[in-house]
């Protein structure tokens, strides 16, 4: 487990303010499970509210923990979590092998594949009971994926499959490219961050710390 000091944002009356946070790489399984339990009540309540409002709610409002635990034991998987004010605000599981870019100019080159990423329910519009609490959770986790990609000498390349509901974040906030629905993967859209796009996402290389 490795802890890195960083920041998230917290909502104020005028917008956002920075708040201290910790990025954890290789999160212990029991910590992930504790977070999942802490999120469960609010996620279920959020799902109820969405249902009551007539919005779409997943048939199975959980992730396959048994499968994820198994994956965490494999050498090519790494996990990351972002903690703020004593609570886990987001979790991510990435695969470092078996995936490659699909679009030019990096086509065929290896990338870090985001297998799972989720923000705590109190940080998500619609799921939160009231205004979401912390911002930039997804940004920090994608940033961690880019950095893991650099550590693997994949030049910042990252890929994932996303639902249309998450496309705005991956396209506009992260600058990812999509080559459309993947018929081999539930028809979810394939998104990837090229080496060049990952540098633009990070806002240049002059602002790094630690």
């Amino acid at each position: 487990m490795k802890c890195i000091s960083t920041e998230l944002t917290r909502r104020t009356d005028d917008g956002w303010e920075p708040v201290a946070a910790t990025l954890i790489i290789d999160v212990p399984v029991d910590v992930i499970e504790a977070a999942e339990i802490a999120w469960a009540v609010q996620r279920l309540e959020g799902a109820r509210r969405l249902q009551a409002a007539g919005s779409a709610v997943p048939e199975h409002w959980h992730w396959d923990w048994k499968n994820k635990t198994h994956k965490l034991q494999l050498l090519n998987y790494r996990s990351a979590g972002i903690e703020c004010e004593g609570e886990m605000q987001g979790l991510m599981l990435v695969s470092l092998a078996g995936h490659s870019t699909r679009t030019p100019p990096d086509k065929g080159k290896p990338l870090v594949y985001i297998d799972y990423v989720e923000s705590a329910p109190w940080n998500v519009k619609g799921l939160a009971n009231g205004p979401p609490r912390y911002g930039a959770v997804g940004t920090r986790l994608v940033e961690a994926a880019v950095q893991l990609s650099h550590e693997e000498e994949f030049s910042g390349r990252v890929g994932l499959h996303a639902l249309p509901q998450a496309s705005r974040f991956y396209e506009q906030t992260c600058g990812m490219l999509s080559d459309g629905p993947d018929s081999h993967y539930h028809n979810l859209c394939w998104y990837e961050l090229t080496s060049q796009a990952s540098q633009e996402f990070l806002g240049g290389q002059d602002n790094a710390t630690q």
Binding site: E33, V41, H60, K68, I114, A136, V137, A144
Partner: protein, 166 residues
């Protein structure tokens, strides 16, 4: 690992992200499957919460009867190792016979214990809610406190009320 410390970048990204859904994998894939299949929408107990609730329920039930793990093992004719695995939330799929034996000794509806153990599915919302709350609030301590006793009784009531009288 290098992380961007530029606050203006962070604030701009927070504004862009705007607390949208960022989820990938897990339930997201199941959402897609649901939308494609057009199946009926429902909500299930999160797997880890269910497993935690099952573990704590068995543990609290045993302690309430002032039984050691070994004594419950003998009384229910269940292997000690399996009982320990259940109370440690290590068992993903216990044996159906184990659940039947435990339900008998702990005096709880068999079907509900099957659902709590993960061996059968439940669509009972009250039971789902109660299970998640029980998982979130119960902690393993030496003796049942007054709060634990109240929590336990409350959950048993839901468990019995939502059963079909098996």
């Amino acid at each position: 690992m290098q992380l961007n410390k530029d606050r203006s970048w962070l604030l701009k990204k927070a504004e862009q992200e705007d607390n949208d859904i960022v989820s990938v994998g897990g339930f997201v894939n199941r959402v897609a499957a649901t939308e494609q299949n057009g199946s009926e929408e429902s909500v299930e107990i999160p797997e880890s919460a269910r497993r935690h609730a099952f573990a704590r329920f068995v543990e609290l039930s045993r302690r309430r009867q002032r039984l050691t793990v070994e004594q419950l093992s003998e009384k229910a004719d269940v292997d000690v190792a399996e009982l320990i695995a259940i109370e440690e939330a290590d068992t993903v799929s216990p044996e159906p016979r184990t659940i039947y034996q435990l339900a008998t000794v702990l005096n709880v509806p068999q079907q509900k214990l099957m659902e709590l153990s993960g061996l059968s599915r439940t669509r009972d919302r009250r039971f789902q809610d109660a299970t998640v709350r029980f998982a979130a609030r119960s902690e393993p301590v030496a003796d049942l406190s007054a709060d634990e006793e109240e929590l336990f009784q409350e959950y048993v009531k839901v468990l019995v009320d939502t059963s079909n009288g098996d």
